[in-house]
Amino acid sequence: MLMDDYKYLFKVVLIGNASVGKTCLVRRFCQDVFPTGQAATIGVDFLIKTVEVNGEKIKLQIWDTAGQERFRSITQSYYRSANALIIVFDINNLATFSSLPDWVREVKAYANNDVLCTLVGNKCDINQREVPTHVAEQFAEKNDMWYLETSAKNSENVGKLFQTIAEELTMKARESTIGASNSGHDSFFNGDQKTKPVKSSCC
């Protein structure tokens, strides 16, 4: 019996300006709630969610960072070991979109080169759009990201977002373990993978 029955463990970090809805996205995905009047995150928050990809259990360790400028240095330290980054902005707030280049620069400076980066336009349930979809898509394409519009409130695309990330990461992990099986990429693996399960027997 395995100690923990997941196949891969991935670290996902959410970043973006303050009050674009990072915490709500995560809470919607992990706990399926939409907390109204969510206070600003302090430093960093942490949640675990297990998803299934091709019948295998994938564990997502989600780190929800504070958007406030004053916590920037501590959030940056979380980029380094992330497998996937989700950059969130508010499609009804042009300012949050305008600061995306800064975020991309930060990601390039602090994160791994092979990190999976996703751009998310949140709050698509509100009808006061300031950022047209094609502009955001263009930006994402230019920076080699994948773009998705979500709403934490009516849970639109939230599941899809994390599911796709899990799938992509699993694929990547498989490739890397096939391509370079001995180069020590076992950070993806659950440590108990290699040990043979001991069957308990009874008559």
Partner: protein, 727 residues
């Protein structure tokens, strides 16, 4: 035996391996009963006897914990952690065989968010694990998740258990620091400092806020770095574990101190940088109390020989703020922190001379600050001006306080250093405008004030004869003497005062501050026998006599001298003769006075003759002041040395002056109300006669052969500005 069945129901024989049976038996049926002590003992014994089975039994145990966790069977999870803890402590020698299982189980427990009880047990267990010293290296082990999770806990913001969670996070960090900080066999903790340090500092803030809300705020003196460890801090460490568990602020301080106790030279940067960034990001430089508090804790706990590095990092940070053209407020705050750190370093570590580069950086900042001030002056921004001024004061105080605490030989070095750097500071700055010339002058005066501050403490603190005061090094005195005839009266005055402090070995200066004509000198309480009884003394006048007198000559005849300068010159003249205690020196100075008197009469003669414009002009007031000064000096010297003929002559001249030229006596000459209509010539009988004085000196056994030659000041006098360009 919980829900597990160890043996077959039909035959009763064991179906489960022994190690599993033992592990199963540890868990009681009712979790409230706690772990079965007997069975735990059995498991322990088994582990000791058959260490090769340890791996399996531990894996089984951690699997059980994971399963209980999935089934939300919290009491059993806690029991499982306890059992693991117990076994681990017993079998710590085989730690490497089972540690991965243990950490995996712990990680799973920690993944449970928002469960205070579980987190508490996990952290306690982790602390116990961290107490184990390992002998075998383990580079594979990865604590990253723990660091991440503890950091998250430190920033916890839950409504009910905020402080408890934060304390747990700090405890976790602390345990990890204790385990891996100084262990080269471990995956080192230093690369995680960008998470750990901000978590600590973040929690320290809480305490500061609390403190402000409490009316009995400790005064800033408590943050004084000079004190190594305040008594209440020691007490605090002792009570630490009990008190700190529910106050993150106290716990955070303890962790911070411990961290810096363990930090090696090459790790310090990694620890300090996050603090600086944190203070920047959270705008915590102002008010300065908080950063001062942090750095006082650091300086108190860091290894003393490393403390200069902290200062260097702070200086670097200050430089960064200069580049960002920040407001002077922040710079002043940083400077104040640096000041505290420097004072601490100077007093305890003997890091004095390693700090000289730091001092020169500070002087550069000072120069830059003046530049900023004068460019902003042009734009009429007054507030900025005020801020820069505060910054400059902070720098000067910083250097001064630092120098005060240095051992004396380094004090001398620092004075030399400042004096010599005066020259190089202005390189690269074009002095085209009046403003920037003004700035340069102000800077000079500020730096000289610093030196003066150092010199005066030098005098009061180090009363014992020290190498400096007996050797009078050229590096310091040459530039100082040259500055005696700087064109600016402010500079001259400070230089004279510095010289007073340095030459005055027996604390006479206070008695000689004012130019007076006392009939009875005994009230001054100057000893009649002033001869130095130490053979190794090198008198100042022996080494610098000629140089000094020729500079003094130039100085005394400056046309912009103030009364203060005359008083200072008088004091200094007396000091050098008294300190020397040498007849030749006395004769030299008297000779010098006659030369001055002679020149003065020449000048006043030529005042009527406009053609002799090459001669230096002096105002009447200044001339009279100099006459009065000479009279006072002669009076004191003749009486002190008991040369009666000389003394009679002085009395006679003073009487004559009282009758015919009262304006050339100290009582009137230094009275600001003297009118300008006083005659420019002094009657002949009101002047001192060189002949009479020479005879009197001769009679009392002084060598007056020098009087036959005319006194000549040394050629090639350098003005201050020339000196600056030369060097």
């Amino acid at each position: 035996m919980s829900e597990y069945c160890n043996n077959c129901f039909c035959c009763g024989c064991y179906l489960v391996p022994r190690y599993k049976r033992l592990v199963n038996n540890v868990f009681p049926q009712n979790p409230q009963h706690g772990l079965d002590k007997n069975n735990l003992e059995k498991l322990r014994f088994y582990a000791v006897v058959k260490p090769e089975k340890l791996d399996k039994s531990f894996r089984y145990m951690s699997e059980k914990v994971a399963r209980y966790l999935r089934h939300r069977n919290k009491p059993f999870v806690i029991l499982g952690i306890k059992a693991m803890n117990d076994t681990m402590k017993t079998c710590y020698q085989q730690l490497n065989t089972f540690v991965d299982h243990y950490l995996d189980a712990l990680r799973l427990v920690l993944e449970e968010k928002n469960d205070l009880e579980l987190t508490e047990h996990a952290v306690s267990s982790f602390e116990a694990f961290c107490e184990i010293r390992e002998e075998a290296p383990n580079y594979q082990r990865n604590y990253e998740f723990f660091v991440d999770r503890f950091t998250e806990l430190c920033h916890n913001n839950s409504d009910t258990n905020k402080t408890k969670f934060r304390c747990l996070g700090l405890r976790g960090h602390h345990a990890l620091i204790r385990k891996t900080a100084n262990d080269e066999l471990q995956n080192d903790v230093w690369k995680h400092m960008d998470k750990i340090v901000p978590s600590i500092v973040f929690n320290m803030e809480v305490r500061e806020q609390d403190r402000q809300s409490i009316p009995t705020t400790p005064t800033s003196s408590q943050y004084n770095l000079g004190v190594t460890t305040a008594p209440d801090q020691i007490e605090l460490i002792e009570r630490g574990t009990a008190l700190a568990n529910d106050n993150p602020a106290i716990l955070a301080v303890i962790v911070l101190r411990d961290l810096f106790c363990r930090a090696h030279l090459n790790n310090i940067t990694a620890c300090v940088q996050p603090i600086l960034i944190h203070l920047d990001n959270h705008d915590k430089w102002i008010p300065v109390d908080f950063p001062k508090y942090i750095f006082s804790e650091i300086m108190n706990s860091i290894k003393h020989h490393n403390s200069y590095l902290i200062i260097e990092l702070l200086l670097g940070h200050l430089e960064k703020h200069f580049h960002q053209q920040d407001t002077a407020n922040i710079k002043t705050s940083i400077m104040k922190v640096i000041q505290d750190c420097m004072v601490f370093a100077a007093a305890t570590t003997g890091a004095g001379s390693t700090m000289f580069t730091g001092i020169s950086r500070l002087l550069k900042f000072l120069r830059q600050s003046f530049q900023i001030q004068y460019t902003s002056n042009a734009n009429n921004s007054l507030s900025n001006n005020q801020d820069e001024h505060e910054f400059q004061t902070a720098v000067i105080n910083g250097i001064g306080d630092f120098a005060e605490k240095l051992p004396d030989f380094q004090m001398m070095e620092i004075m030399q250093f400042i004096i010599t750097s005066l020259a190089t500071l202005n390189q690269g700055y074009e002095e085209t405008t009046n403003d920037s010339k003004d700035a340069t002058l102000k800077l000079q005066i500020l730096l000289l004030k610093t030196v003066k501050k150092v010199a005066s403490t030098y005098q009061t603190v180090h009363r014992r004869e020290t190498s400096t005061q007996t050797t009078f090094p050229h590096q310091l005195f040459d530039p100082l003497l040259k500055m005696m005839n700087a064109p600016e009266p402010e500079v001259r005055l400070i230089v004279l005062e510095i010289l007073q402090s340095l030459v005055d070995r027996r604390q006479y200066a206070d008695k000689l501050r004012k130019i007076k004509l006392p009939k009875d000198i005994s009230q001054l309480e100057l000893p009649t026998e002033t001869k130095a009884n130490r053979l190794f003394d090198i008198a100042f006048m022996k080494k610098f006599g000629r140089q000094f007198l020729s500079q003094l000559y130039a100085c005394i005849l400056m046309d912009n001298n103030t009364n203060d300068i005359f008083h200072a010159i008088y004091c200094l003249m007396n000091l050098v003769t008294l300190e020397a205690g040498d007849k030749d020196v006395l004769v030299d100075v008297i000779h010098f006075c006659f030369k001055i008197q002679c020149d003065l009469t020449k000048i006043s003669d030529s005042n009527g003759n406009l053609h002799q414009s090459s001669q230096r002009r002096l105002s009447n007031t200044n001339e009279n002041s100099i006459h009065a000064l000479i009279a006072a000096y002669f009076n004191l010297m003749s009486k002190l040395n008991g040369i009666s003929a000389f003394s009679q002559h002085v009395n006679e001249v003073v009487r004559n002056r009282e009758r015919h030229a009262p304006y050339s006596l100290p009582a009137n000459a230094f009275n600001s109300n003297t009118d300008e209509t006083i005659p420019s010539r002094i009657p002949k009988d009101c002047l001192f006669s060189q002949e009479i004085v020479a005879n009197a000196l001769d009679a009392s056994g002084h060598d007056t052969s020098k009087f036959d030659r005319e006194y000549r000041p040394e050629p090639g006098r350098l003005f201050f500005k020339d000196y600056m360009i030369d060097s």
